[in-house]
Amino acid sequence: MQNKTLPQLDDLYKEIILEHYRNPHGREPLSKVNYQAEGMNPLCGDEVKLTLQLDSENDKKIEKVHIEGHGCSISVASGSMLADILKGKTIAEAKEISKYLKEIMHDKINDTEIDIGDLEALCGVKKFPVRIKCALLPWTTFEEALLGHEHVEIS
């Protein structure tokens, strides 16, 4: 007979993740678009479309993030948290957070101490290797968006 207690699951589906999933942030339209990218996980079909609006006075700060698409609870929650946490951050700070999250997920030691707020809850995904991609999809897409712009600047 199968065992009916599932302690591991609570690590994955923290209440805060479910809340973000049920009510994802970052759905309000932007007034202008500075960076954008579409991300997709070809294995599961999850899709994310991410757009960034920078501070009109200071092009270094993220004023607002818009994110849409469809996916599992993990990728949707991760995207929702991204929209929350990146708001008001400089691009450099935002990149730092993204890098930090990736390193946590791949279990690399990281000495930086950053306050990542709700994102902390995503760390439980580590124990579910196949789902790490879900958690990182919005972040990879974010980085792609920046690169895309940088790429345009370079050429």
Binding site: Q2, L9, Y13, E15, L18, E19, R22, N23, S73, R131
Partner: protein, 430 residues
């Protein structure tokens, strides 16, 4: 006759514990099947006793390996009702068989302006090879639509077939919907219109009794790994009339008769299409898998799977918010149950039931166009084989319920029932 307890003992993996105390419940059979001990043993026996390269060797082991390999051709021939063993070609998998056909038939007689007819329920393996052919020759690829009952739209089919249709290539049984298509009927339409007819039997050969000659198609392809055999072996069965005229696909040892510094001539069928050292060990083990399946009997397998499917569909009725894709009639969708729901994403479902040791699949099932047609980005799929049981289904339903409960804490319950939309609900509870 069909002794499920005895059968389960043949599969060592069914003893595997996935999570503490939870034995494996394997419902991902449409992706690949598990292997009985006799098949695994045959690999060991081969490598420990008569491993040798085949066909050109004079020594004893080369002879033994060659005989064992060629015997499997005979077995496949009778298993699938081919006319002759030289019409049975070993490939790596269904995918390679379809690529071989797209390439070689393409070179033989497909020209600019011609059309290839597929359906909306095809696996990527039966779409991309034709897109690749299209990139070389300027042709059209058309798709037969499916009806609201998740069946092929036979009326559209007849309209879509024209003088320009050179090839019709269709799945026998959909890996998502479970739908079994009426191949005999389509074979007549193909014949009447002079089109070559290819059948993708990847999902049917393991579960139904499939007879190549009776179906009346020109080519039939399937994979060993979905029918109790090892990975790395596929089959292409075809009519000699075509195979003889078709140019070779892969070139190398084995498939040649004579090679000079100027040119080459091809070997006889079937070797003409088998280049290089074949997957000898796995082909031989595949022969053992065929014996094993025939011992149980494809009719028995089919009947039992229908029973399981009916049982499962009945149990799933309790989740009235579930959308289940596929024919209502169990006999038309034996073994495959694909579903989605408005709240819990297929990936989350798969992860949660996995915690109970239950392996199901979530995603596009290599049928992205069909997902688009069904208007979903992903679905969950439970697919059965003859070693599964009703008790396993009970546990699956139990785990599913847990998954829905998990996601439906508080007001979300309402959400699941589809009564209130997500945003409204969320704002009121926060």
């Amino acid at each position: 006759m069909f002794d499920i307890n005895k059968i389960r003992k043949d599969f060592p993996i069914l003893e595997r514990k996935i999570t503490d105390g939870n034995k494996l419940i394997y419902f991902d059979n449409a992706a690949t099947s598990q292997k009985p001990k006799v098949v695994i043993d045959s690999l060991v026996k081969y490598y420990e006793n008569y491993n040798a390269n085949i066909h050109r060797g004079v020594h004893k082991m080369a002879e033994e390996a060659t005989c064992a390999y060629e015997e499997v051709r005979q077995k496949v021939k009778s298993f699938i009702g081919a006319r002759n063993e030289d019409e049975v070609i070993f490939t790596r998998n269904t995918t390679e068989s379809l690529n071989l056909l797209a390439y070689s038939l393409g070179e033989l007689f497909v020209n600019e302006g011609d059309e290839i007819l597929l359906s909306e329920m095809e696996h990527h393996s039966n779409i991309i090879p034709w897109y690749i052919l299209r990139s070389r020759k300027k042709i059209k690829v058309k798709f037969i639509p499916i009806t609201d009952n998740y069946e092929l739209d036979y009326k559209s089919l007849e309209q879509l077939v024209t003088k320009k249709t050179k090839i019709i290539s269709l799945t026998h049984k959909s890996n998502v919907l479970g739908t079994v298509n009426n191949i005999k009927k389509i074979a007549q339409i193909a014949k009447a219109n002079g089109a070559v007819f290819i059948v993708d039997a990847a999902q049917s050969a393991p579960h139904l009794s499939v007879d190549f000659q009776d179906l009346g198609c020109d080519f039939l392809v399937f994979s060993s790994h979905k029918m109790c055999g090892p990975t790395g072996v596929g089959v292409l069965v075809g009519r000699r009339e075509y195979l003889e005229k078709m140019p070779p696909f892969l070139g190398g040892g084995e498939m040649i008769r004579k090679v000079t510094f100027e040119d080459f001539t091809t070997n006889d069928l079937p070797w003409k299409f088998e280049a290089g050292t074949p997957n000898i060990a796995d082909v031989i083990a595949f022969g053992v898998a065929i014996d094993y399946l025939q011992n149980i009997g494809l009719e028995n397998i089919y009947k039992y799977e229908c029973e399981l499917t009916e049982y499962a569909l009945d149990k799933l009725k309790q989740f009235d918010f579930l959308k289940i894709y596929g024919a209502k009639d169990c006999n038309k969708r034996a073994g495959i149950i694909t579903f989605s729901n408005p709240v819990v994403h297929p990936h989350d479902i798969a992860t949660i039931v996995d915690q109970y040791g239950i392996a199901i699949r979530a995603g596009h099932h290599c049928a992205q166009p069909l997902m688009k047609k069904l208007n979903v980005s992903a679905t969950a799929r439970a697919s059965f084989y003859f070693y599964n049981t009703k008790e396993e289904i009970d546990l699956f339903v139990y785990a599913l319920k847990k998954a829905f409960d998990y996601f439906a804490i508080g007001a979300c319950n309402e959400l699941i029932k589809g009564k209130i939309n997500a945003k409204q609900n969320a704002t009121t509870t926060r």
